[in-house]
């Protein structure tokens, strides 16, 4: 469906433009337009320093989370197997809060990545059983448990922070795009682009894995290694998004199925790209809604993705129940 891709592109463009036009300071469209063209006046300053980096960071973070979600969902063949449901983003978030609390002064992307990878390793190790293959639902349950524990440890770390920093950490843990700068925008786009390429190369292996373990082995694929590489890429992508935007809830969960439905994408690569585009659209729209919903109040974007995502998760469950799949 070509029209689906066009629709997605139009939505992203409109969302980005609206994200540039709406903000805490009320500046008329004429002045913004003037500022954008000439690079002078208050409009130009607001755009360059505040709104543009925010929108660009949001697009990058959403794309990274969306692609991460789609990879996991395709690999485990379960729409619930998203990095945010399985606790990976919670682990990345906990690592960042811990780094702030301990005052390590480390750059956040590697910290988030380490936290996410450690969590994924822990989930895999704890759901492993010598007797039988790990069903994806066990991974999901164990991941949920790890997510709960990470949340509790995060609150524990928070009690050790001074009040101002604790409030900041709380805001960060909700998932927010407030006060992003161009450095963060470049960071999320640069790392996501590299990881996206790596993932694109792996999509062939994913397509073979979908045929089943035996078939994959017959085609000369080392299934175990390919699986691990795919999970690692997905976790790194998710951590890249988390490092700049916080653990935005449910973006990775929603983006994959929604993107596939809108674009009608079939091949793994197309599904991943659709999920990335959808994730970008979701995050920018959620941020826009969070900022514009109530005059004078800037809610963090995580509040809106939580409000959107939770009913979606409930709908998924209700549908799974009707089909008897869960």
């Amino acid at each position: 469906m070509k029209s689906g891709w066009v629709l997605l592109a139009v939505v992203i463009l409109l969302a980005a433009l609206a994200g540039l036009a709406v903000g805490q300071v009320d500046i008329g469209p004429a002045m913004l337009w003037h500022g954008a063209l000439t690079g002078e006046g208050p409009g130009a300053l607001t755009l360059r320093l505040i709104r543009a980096p925010r929108v660009v960071t949001g697009l990058g973070a959403g794309a990274a989370l969306g692609m991460a979600g789609a990879i996991c969902q395709m690999l485990f063949r379960n729409p619930l197997a998203a990095p945010d449901v399985m606790g990976f983003t919670a682990g990345a978030g906990l690592a960042v809060v811990a780094a702030i609390a301990l005052g390590l002064g480390l750059p956040l992307p590697p910290v988030a990545a380490a936290g996410g990878l450690a969590t994924a390793g822990l989930v895999a190790a704890l759901s492993w059983s010598p007797r039988h293959d790990t069903p994806p639902l066990t991974l999901i349950l164990v991941g949920l448990g790890i997510g709960f524990t990470a949340g509790a440890l995060g609150s524990f770390a928070m009690t050790r922070l001074p009040q101002a920093e604790a409030a900041e950490a709380q805001r960060w843990l909700t998932g927010s795009l407030a006060a992003r700068d161009w450095g963060q925008a470049a960071q999320v786009w640069g790392i996501s682009a590299v990881l996206g390429l790596v993932a694109a190369v792996q999509m062939r292996a994913l397509a073979v894995l979908e045929l089943g373990e035996a078939m994959a082995a017959g085609l000369g694929l080392r299934a175990g290694r390919a699986r691990w590489a795919l999970v690692a890429t997905a976790v790194l992508l998710a951590a890249t998004g988390v490092a700049v935007a916080g653990p935005l809830p449910f973006v990775a969960l929603m983006a994959g199925p929604l993107g596939a439905r809108v674009t009608g994408a079939r091949s793994p690569l197309a599904q991943m790209l659709a999920a990335g585009a959808t994730g970008a659209a979701i995050v920018v729209l959620a941020d826009l809604a969070a900022r514009a919903a109530l005059p004078g109040i800037q809610l963090p974007a995580g509040v809106t993705t939580g409000l959107l995502g939770a009913p979606y998760l409930l709908w998924l469950l209700a549908r799974g129940m009707a089909r008897g799949a869960l």
């Binding site: 069903p135 609150s155 009690t159 809610l299 939580g306 409000l307």
Partner: protein, 331 residues
């Protein structure tokens, strides 16, 4: 070990936890001072003041909340035949806390007793929603479905709470007071009323226990035994609402207690729901009091909230239980 000896052990453990909760803290109150403080209260003796105005309300709050959550968790797990059911994980705590915060923000009455009673409708709505969406009332809820439904309801309510707090800065204090999951504000909570509510819930649970056991044999078989599944489920939801609402009103949302206690109680009491309920209440109170006492000590003089302590212990317990669950099979 014989059955009665185990029950004695449970009671002894509870007594030990109560003793530690009274005696240990930033200021240790010697046992010798306890009886005089009760019978001949001396308002100039710091030991007496600590014991009567701080430790005793805290002990009561721990007994009420811990016992109530133990009962609520046991009833939930028996009703859904799901080892991962817990008032905190299934969003019932969050529903009660959200109702209180919303009421406090809208009505503007902070810390007043009337606000605390909003926890009951909140808990009832959340419990009904999670059970309906998770398929809990059909008794065939897969653990994954029910747990995820709870996680979704939790996430939804948390987003709403953080939206309220960010919209109205003043409500942050309300939030801190009501949504902290701690026994430290016990003196300002309606302990007497909530003890009655929890007691009522516990009594109803004991009354319903045989019917719930019959129900766990399957709806058709239980009808043959003369049970009306709809009524029993409604009654069990009332128990869950009363117990969880009371616990949240005195201690805020405390997760994982209702998850950890029932398997321990089953190990001690065997598969007899009435005995299990009694042991659950005692063990719930014991664990909560121990968690609270430990929270006072680990970072002294700062306090770690009891809710955080139970969550840090409870997360690994959840994972251990989840590993044993065979997903897909009705638990």
């Amino acid at each position: 070990m014989s059955g009665s000896l185990r029950f004695v052990g449970v009671v002894a453990l509870l007594a030990l936890a109560m003793g530690l909760s009274l005696g240990v803290g930033v200021r240790d109150v010697p046992v010798a001072a306890w009886w005089p403080a009760l019978v001949a209260y001396d308002p100039t003796d710091p030991n007496h003041i600590t014991l009567i105005t701080i430790r005793l309300p805290r002990l009561c709050a721990g007994l009420i909340a811990g016992g109530a959550l133990g009962v609520a968790g046991t009833v939930m797990q028996a009703l859904t035949r799901n080892p991962l059911a817990d008032p905190g994980l299934l969003g019932v705590n969050a529903g009660a806390a959200f109702a209180i915060v919303l009421g406090a923000v809208l009505l503007g009455a902070q810390g007043a007793g009337a606000i605390a009673f909003l926890s009951f409708p909140g808990a009832a709505l959340a419990a009904a929603a999670v059970f309906a969406l998770g398929g809990g009332l059909r008794g065939d809820a897969g653990p994954v479905r029910l747990t995820l439904a709870g996680a979704a309801v939790n996430a939804l309510l948390l987003s709403l709470v953080s939206a309220i707090v960010l919209i109205q800065r003043e409500s942050l204090d309300i939030l801190r007071f009501w949504v902290a999951g701690s026994l430290s504000e016990a003196t300002r909570r309606p302990l007497g009323e909530m003890a009655m509510a929890a007691g009522l819930g516990g009594a109803l649970a004991l009354f319903l226990a045989p019917a719930i056991e019959a129900l766990s044999l399957g709806a058709a078989l239980s009808r043959g035994l003369g049970t009306r599944p709809g009524r029993v489920q409604a009654g069990a939801l009332v128990v869950i609402t009363l117990c969880t609402g009371a616990a949240v009103a005195v201690a805020g949302p405390i997760a994982f207690l209702g998850l950890m206690v029932p398997p321990l109680a089953r190990a001690i009491a065997g598969h007899r729901l009435r005995a299990e309920l009694a042991v659950s209440a005692a063990l719930g109170a014991t664990i909560l009091l121990l968690a609270d006492t430990a929270g006072r000590l680990v970072l002294a003089p700062a306090e770690v909230r009891a809710g955080i302590m139970t969550a840090v212990i409870g997360g690994p317990v959840f994972i251990a239980l989840a590993r044993r669950v065979r997903p897909g099979a009705p638990a």
